[in-house]
């Protein structure tokens, strides 16, 4: 397992450099006149030339990339071109917020699915989970968000409509600020994972070993949670991993709607301002999260089901 893990980390690093390389060149080619964007419409050609020099934009692209890579290797993404803070000062707190939302959403989805696992192969709960799945698939996240905000924040004022409060500042306010975004994101996550789990569980329940275990007197719930889940968990974990990564993208929209200071609004702002250091920082940390999540999913799959061989 150690060799597998090390090999995956090495592959991840190569992928990280490749992604950074492609992103850097695409961004630089498509960025247009960055100095003009930063300085505003009334900047003189002399001011623009001076800023280009200052930002190193007049150096060869490969040289710019090498400098950036050397700094990025130390996790130093440099100065933002659109904000007074460095990229690190803005990026990492925002990464924490986005990961909090996405992780909580994943936990909520998994908890709901596990809670209903024994019943999702038939009966009323199965129909409810399927109904939620249908809604999750068919209703866009922003509409769910709009509905939740109108009902629970604007009309009843139970939760916050916008903004984010740090847990350390006030746990209650934190919960009020994060509940609706997590709820809005959870629906589609539940929909995707529940359908996958339901299919896997239904298949596993019809296997001979389940009948044998039941014949030996084991309770249905014990069979499901101890034996069926191990067999059905692999595909579910895979979809959960994909879902987690997908939620990073989904969070962009949800964070915009709820004005959550996560990676979403930062990505939108940095892109519109051609803030290449910020966008590159975003690309790297997002790729890093994807690599780590995939690795964790692989390791969890192996832990859950020893039949899975890591190779």
């Amino acid at each position: 397992m150690l060799i597998f893990t090390l090999r995956r980390i090495a592959n991840g690093l190569v992928m990280l450099v490749a992604v950074s390389f492609v992103a850097f060149f695409l961004l630089r080619i498509g960025a247009g006149n960055v100095a003009r964007l930063i300085l505003g419409l009334q900047a003189t050609p002399e001011q623009i030339a001076e800023l280009n020099e200052q930002l190193g934009l007049n150096r060869p692209l490969i040289e710019q990339f090498s400098t950036w890579l050397a700094n990025a290797a130390r996790l130093d993404f440099g100065d933002s071109w659109s904000m007074p803070e460095t990229v690190n000062e803005v990026l990492f707190p925002r990464l924490g917020v986005t990961l909090t939302i996405v992780t909580l959403t994943t936990i909520v989805a998994v908890a709901i699915i596990l809670g209903t696992l024994a019943a999702i192969h038939g009966g009323a709960i199965d129909r409810i989970v399927q109904f939620i799945g249908l809604i999750g698939f068919s209703v866009p996240g922003f509409l769910v968000a709009f509905f939740l905000v109108t009902l629970f924040a604007i009309q009843s004022k139970i939760f916050n409509a916008v903004g984010y409060v740090d847990f350390a500042e006030s746990p209650t306010e934190w919960a009020k600020s994060i509940t609706l975004p997590v709820a809005a994101l959870s629906l589609s996550a539940i929909a995707s994972v529940a359908q996958q789990v339901r299919g896997s569980v239904t298949d596993a329940i019809n296997m001979d070993y389940v009948r044998t275990l039941r014949a030996r007197g084991l309770s249905f719930n014990r069979v499901v949670y101890k034996h069926v889940l191990r067999n059905a968990g692999g595909p579910a974990l895979s979809i959960l991993g994909v879902q987690f990564v997908g939620m990073l993208g989904g969070a962009i929209l949800i964070e915009q709607i709820f004005a959550i200071p996560g990676l979403g609004p930062y990505a939108v702002g940095a892109t519109s301002m051609s803030d290449i250091p910020a966008v590159m920082g975003l690309v790297v940390v997002t790729a890093l999260v994807v690599i780590v999540v995939n690795l964790v999913i692989d390791l969890l799959s192996a832990a859950l089901n020893p039949k899975v061989r890591l190779s």
């Binding site: 006149n33 707190p93 604007i154 709607i257 200071p261």
Partner: protein, 453 residues
């Protein structure tokens, strides 16, 4: 120093400006108690308050102000242009004497905006000033509670010299990139004021908000090839025909839900240069437009190149342009531009015309230098006409009382000779509750902080 506009609150919380502006743009004393030009308007003397301290405890004096002005002039930002006319800034007692290279009728207005922002001299040129600003303004940045790009928290400056003008002890500026988030923030009571799209007026009104409605922006077609006689937009009758072929009222309704005011003038309806009678010119008529084309040097029509940017302006507007210009024999050759290149390429100028929403400065001289003078920022083709040039020159040297009439004469020339094809002014809406905004801020999208009571 960055540009002001929507960011004014951040600066006005921390820094004082030498002068301040009322909602209609009238200048009032602030750090400078008096200001006066010499007879040739080339020397401006500012008399300063003597009881002001920066938040780090150092006294604000004439030397500090002179140092700020020179730094603002020499910096690499939009503010540098506003102080380009300043040759020297010399401290004399409690006055600062600005000697100018040339007359600048907008200079005193600039001193009420970013160009007149005064920071503690020790922070000038320091990178830390951006995140740890030291000014003499009403508030101090609460760094611990501030989240960059999302929420900026300010607490009252205990040593502020003008406490009576500060209406609130705490100030929180929240950043909403999304129009729906802004509307939700207002409706849920998370914030007490903010700009909203007109389409959100009804739900926000139901939440008990009032509105300050302004008309800062104007939408229309702008030309960039008026000097080249081979190009049909160089012909005044073609430009007049383009002005006549659009049903502005119908377009306002269909493109912007009727939230705006039809106009034929680039100059804002709140400006002293505006003439409501000029809006009768270019009444929509296909026949009149055709007749104007027949009178032009291009009676059988022509082709114009046009930059498009549909993510911002939508497809509908371009569709109307194509269709209406087609009726008078003008073929539009469209090129879709990307966000990063749109502005640069229209300024190049790479196209004959473009659809644009421009905001209008409250100060006429600033407006003229943005759009009208031959080297104005958005006079992309450097176009001018002798009458207009002469009027601009006379505006520059005229006394303050004579300038409005000259500005109106310039505006009349612009409309009569169809320098542009404006369609309508777009309504800007600032919603507020629990605070008081008397009127929209002339020339700015948001009311100035010190005018919010």
């Amino acid at each position: 120093m960055a540009e002001y506009g929507n960011r004014a609150w951040y600066y006005q919380a921390i820094y004082d400006t030498l002068l301040i502006k009322t909602e209609d743009g009238t200048l009032k004393p602030s750090l400078a108690t008096k200001w006066a030009y010499n007879s040739t308007q080339t020397v401006l003397t500012l008399t300063l308050r003597t009881d002001v301290k920066f938040s780090n405890g150092t006294a604000l004096n004439a030397a500090a102000v002179a140092k700020n002005l020179i730094a603002n002039r020499d910096g690499n930002g939009p503010t540098a242009n506003y102080l380009a006319s300043v040759k020297t800034a010399v401290a004399k007692g409690n006055t600062v004497v600005l000697t100018l290279k040339d007359v600048d009728p907008a200079l005193t207005e600039y001193l009420a905006d970013s160009a007149g922002t005064i920071a503690a001299p020790t922070t000038i040129g320091q990178a830390s000033a951006a995140t740890d600003p030291i000014g003499s303004g009403p508030y101090l940045l609460d760094k611990a509670k501030t989240r960059a790009g999302s929420k900026y928290v300010f607490k009252a400056n205990p040593n502020y010299w003008n406490k009576a003008s500060r209406k609130y002890d705490n100030l929180v500026i929240s950043v909403y990139e999304d129009a729906t988030a802004m509307s939700n923030a207002l409706q849920s009571g998370a914030v007490q004021g903010g700009n909203i799209f007109p389409s959100f007026v009804t739900p926000v009104q139901h939440a008990g908000f009032q509105f300050a409605k302004g008309y800062l922006d104007v939408k229309g077609i702008y030309f960039s090839a008026r000097k080249d006689p081979k190009n049909c937009v160089s012909d005044v009758n073609v430009r007049r025909a383009i002005n006549t072929i659009f049903d502005r009222a119908a377009m306002l309704k269909s493109l912007d839900n009727g939230f705006g005011k039809v106009t034929t003038q680039y100059v804002a309806s709140s400006s002293k240069g505006y003439d409501v009678a000029l809006n009768k010119k270019y009444a929509y008529s296909v026949d009149d437009a055709k007749a104007l084309m027949a009178k032009s040097a291009f009676p059988s029509g022509c082709t114009i190149s046009m930059a498009t940017f549909t993510p911002v302006f939508g497809e509908a507007g371009y569709s109307i342009i194509r269709s209406q210009l087609g009726k008078i024999g003008i073929t539009v050759k469209e090129v879709e531009e990307a966000g990063g290149t749109f502005i640069a390429n229209i300024m190049a100028p790479k196209y004959d015309a473009y659809l644009m929403i421009f905001e209008r400065a409250g100060n006429p001289w600033k407006l003229l230098n943005f759009m009208i003078t031959s080297n104005a920022t958005f006079n992309n083709d450097g176009y001018t006409e002798p009458t207009v040039t002469k009027l601009i020159e006379s505006y520059k040297t005229a006394t303050e009382s004579k300038r409005p009439a000259i500005f109106k004469a310039i505006n009349t020339e612009l409309v009569n000779n169809a320098w542009f094809s404006p369609w309508y002014e777009i309504q800007g809406t600032f919603a507020y509750k629990g605070i008081v905004v008397k009127a929209p801020q002339a020339g700015n999208a948001i009311p100035y902080l010190y005018n919010i009571k």
